[in-house]
């Protein structure tokens, strides 16, 4: 069990219902450092809810979530018991989130979007935070946009700002919700490169998408979900070689 050291995320037997409707059923998965785990599946399959549970925006009913060896929630007598607000604060720093519609702060410039959390959560000085923001913007190729406002950016640029912002607290895990939904093909390649580089540096990447081509491009491992359950999990090569299998294909087209 040497691998535990590198385990960035572990989800065990997670379930969640909304008004008696089961959204997640008995979900278990793990994410190692340097891995790009892609969760695919039709909309309404529970992918988004799973992601929202992992980044603490929703609370699961039962099951366990461990992020970088800290319990976000722990199953106790078939109920998820959540971390204290103080623990929550340190867990949040370990996990970066890129929303589907980016949710940038429209009244703040690109650099202000990025420095807000380092200053207020980590207590960095403004100069240090700005230096950090510049190097993050450099990594996503947007140094020249540092003083722009979100409305002045294209969709792809906004997304890269959102990635830079999600990385501003040096997280161990980066989550991306449907990262290609608003991008044209060239931009997909760019985002795939950024994701690949981050994984090479040892970050755990969790992506939910229904874009099969993109999954094929970036994933190291693939999980497919349907009706709140994991229906298939495999390394990328195995997953996509079996993808030709009719049953899987039919489900994907749905």
């Amino acid at each position: 069990m040497n691998k535990v050291i590198n385990m960035m995320l572990k989800v065990n037997k997670l379930s969640k219902s909304f008004e008696r409707k089961r959204i997640l059923e008995d979900i278990s998965l793990q994410l190692e450092a340097g891995e790009v785990l892609v969760i695919i599946g039709p909309s309404g399959g529970g992918k988004t809810t799973l992601l929202r549970c992992i980044n603490g925006l929703e609370k699961s009913d039962n099951g366990t979530i461990i992020i970088d060896n800290i319990y976000l929630c722990r199953d106790h007598n078939n109920k998820s018991i959540y971390a204290s607000p103080k623990e929550m604060k340190s867990i949040r720093q370990k996990i970066g989130m890129v929303f589907q519609n980016y949710n940038l702060f429209p009244h703040m410039s690109v650099v202000e979007n990025i420095i807000e959390a380092p200053i207020n959560v980590l207590g960095l000085s403004k100069d240090d935070a700005i230096n950090r923001a510049y190097s993050l913007l450099k990594n996503v190729g947007l140094e020249d946009k540092k003083d722009s406002y979100p409305f002045q950016l294209s969709g792809g640029q906004k997304q890269r700002v959102a990635i830079a912002r999600a990385l501003c607290l040096n997280p161990k895990i980066l989550c991306l919700d449907e990262p290609t939904s608003a991008l044209d093909p060239e931009l997909r390649e760019g985002i795939a490169n950024i994701i690949g580089k981050l994984a090479d540096k040892g970050m755990g990447i969790l992506i939910i998408t229904h874009d099969m081509d993109f999954a094929k491009r970036v994933a190291t491992r693939v999980i497919s979900m349907k009706e709140g359950r994991i229906v298939k999990e495999a390394q990328k090569e195995d997953f996509f070689s079996e993808f030709e299998d009719n049953r899987v294909r039919r489900f994907m087209i749905l």
Binding site: G56, M97, E116, A117, N120
Partner: protein, 214 residues
Amino acid sequence: MLSYIYTLLPSIGDGLVVTLKVFALTLVFSIPLGIIVSILRIWNIKPISRITELYVWVMRGTPLMLQVVFIFFGLPVVGITFDRFTAVIIAFVLNYAAYFGEIFRGGIESIDKGQYEAAKVLGLSSYRTFTRIILPQMFKIVLPSIANEVITLVKDTSLVYIVGIGELLRAGKIASNRDASLVPLVLVGVVYLLLTAIFTIVFNKIEKKYSYYE
């Protein structure tokens, strides 16, 4: 004619000072109080939001003049006494805070919930989220409605005559009755128009300042 207007200026000027005092004090206190009202109104704790709702209903549901009268003449009955000016300011602040509170609430509620979620996953505290993310965006949204209220307030200040405070309109009326002339009232009307013009320009400037983002 010009010399007649000239003789009116001192009393109109005194009235204007009182009007501006009521106006400024009301704004200075009612806007922060309005923010608090909007927060209490949105608060998840039922009794608090209910009490705030009741307050808003009473303040918006009765005439401002009645509220002034109640605070100045009514409260002494139960042993709470204010001087005229304080009573007027309390009534105006309570009344306008209710209106501002509802405007702010609308502004806050129109902000996309993704903004809260982004702040949350970044680990910003609720206080930070409110002051750095929500409030600045809310102000931009509500500015036109606030401008409207401010201009209404300029004219509402004329209600303070009810407790015997001499303000702009009262100064005009006194001169008008004394001299059997409409000129003082026209003059007062012009002063109100000028005030409104100034505040309109000020608010246009502020709106422009906020237009750096969309």
